[in-house]
């Protein structure tokens, strides 16, 4: 694919990311929700309240990544994509939901020379609506994404 010259400038790259976000109808105020969520800690919750729930995870990459991994915040692997080409990927997983909430840490490595890009992670637990969170950056992106559903 031949890209127009303007898309290779870092600023245009960022503009392109925002254009895609706009297309996906994600309100701008939510762009910061990823980092805000990262500061949240999983509610301690008694062990009895945690339930292993089957879920489908969907990953949408706007650019080719060298590697993407999804883990629980304590490092338990959930999904590894190596390599991780641009496009949509999906997998069946089992997530631990406590009080209808879960956190997943997303780590994506993009080629060093690449522009800023975005990664979208959609979590679709059985019997619950799907929810999408995203991370934006370049090079190595690590972000803890928080998902919660009304109880």
């Amino acid at each position: 694919m031949i890209r127009p010259a303007w898309i290779s400038t870092p600023l245009a790259g960022t503009a392109a990311v925002f254009a895609v976000l706009a297309l996906l109808a994600i309100p701008l105020h939510r762009l910061t929700s990823g980092s805000a969520a990262a500061a949240l800690t999983t509610p301690a919750g008694d062990a009895d309240d945690s339930t292993a729930t089957p879920a489908v995870l969907y990953l949408r990459l706007l650019a080719d990544a060298d590697k993407v991994s999804i883990t629980t915040p304590d490092g338990t692997p959930v999904w590894q994509l190596d390599p991780a080409p641009a496009g949509e990927h999906d997998i069946d997983a089992t997530l631990t939901l406590a009080h209808h909430q879960t956190e997943l840490t997303l780590t994506a490595s993009f080629p060093q020379s690449a522009n800023e890009t975005a990664v979208f992670l959609t979590v679709e637990p059985d019997h619950l609506a799907s929810q999408t969170q995203h991370a934006i950056g370049s090079g190595q992106i690590t972000e803890t994404l928080h998902f919660s559903w009304p109880e």
Binding site: P54, V56, E88, D90, D92, E124, D126, H127, L128, A129, S130
Partner: protein, 302 residues
């Protein structure tokens, strides 16, 4: 000798080709599940829609349907309680798996979910019951297509890439369909985004596209409303300012016509709730096109 060997080799090839070409038999207890299976499985499967345009809320398999299911690799039901006979069916079918395609899709409860602006009272129309009509949500159907792709791959592992590709292509189609539906329905003024239907089947659709449901009848079109509920509904429709109400193909519209007359609103052309039009099964895409066009025309008319 060489010619004989070539002949044998060709015969073997022909036999193998016939063996691999025999499509996997899939039975469906719902026209929308039949459509989903066809979209995902393509030529690799042969789908039998056992409902054949009959009312889904009263359908029960006949002996000939039982024979079709016994010779199928998989039986698809929609789930959420629509097919009340599933336990008996499973016992009778033995090894043939019966999949409730909508089982893991989030449920709506009649009268409880915020989508109901007028709460059906506790009589005769399943208030508090699970709404089985999940197939009227486009995102739900996308989710269901993946379920079917996984189930087909589990039974026919050699076809896994075909089923995955079928699912991905159909998922993309449904994304486009949802974008189209959203842009059409966006032309309806916010004050008119209310669905009064003869058959309380449109909550999943309403939730997906930001409508309210004013329920007149029950979950199945034949559950009659009481006179008190009808009076309450007439007041609700008058108060809502909505211009049109919607009957449904294949059902009696007596109550709806009476309510519309009393409330002074138009009766729009019928919607398709359970996947059949004039007793014939149609595709989900056609159902969405029909319903979205009908609703948009009726609620934007001056």
């Amino acid at each position: 000798m060489k010619r004989l060997l070539t002949g044998i080799a060709m015969l073997c090839l022909a036999v193998t080709a016939t063996a691999t070409a025999a499509p996997l038999k899939v039975s469906a207890l719902h026209p929308m599940m039949a459509d989903l299976a066809r979209q995902v499985g393509g030529d690799r499967i042969e789908v039998f829609d056992l409902t054949k345009g009959n009312n889904l809320h009263h359908f029960e398999p006949k002996p000939s349907d039982m024979a079709t299911m016994r010779s199928s690799a998989l039986v698809l039901a929609s789930g959420k309680g629509l097919e009340s006979y599933l336990d008996g069916l499973r016992a009778s079918l033995g090894k043939v798996p019966v999949i409730e395609v909508g089982k893991t899709i989030p449920s709506l409860t009649v009268g409880k979910d915020a989508v109901y602006s007028s709460c059906p009272h506790n009589h005769g129309h399943s208030a508090g019951g699970l709404d089985p009509h999940w197939w009227l949500g486009i995102s739900n159907m996308k989710r269901a297509a993946r379920v079917i792709s996984k189930e087909l791959a589990a039974i026919d592992p050699a076809g896994k890439t075909t089923y995955q590709a079928g699912y991905k292509a159909y998922a993309k189609k449904l994304d486009d369909l949802k974008r189209w539906a959203k842009s059409e329905l966006a032309t309806i003024p916010s004050g008119q985004r209310k669905l009064v239907t003869s058959h309380n089947a449109f909550a999943y659709f309403a939730k997906e596209f930001g409508f309210e449901v004013i329920a007149i009848a029950g979950l199945s079109a034949e559950q009659n409303s009481t006179p008190q509920h009808l009076a309450h509904t007439i007041t609700d429709i008058r108060d809502s300012g909505v211009r049109a109400v919607f009957p449904e193909t294949n059902t009696s519209d007596k109550s709806l016509n009476a309510v519309a007359k009393q409330a002074g609103v138009t009766v729009a052309p019928p919607l398709i709730a359970d996947g059949t039009k004039s007793g014939k099964a149609i595709t989900f895409e056609a159902v969405v096109h029909h319903n979205v066009n009908t609703i948009t025309r009726a609620l934007t008319a001056q």
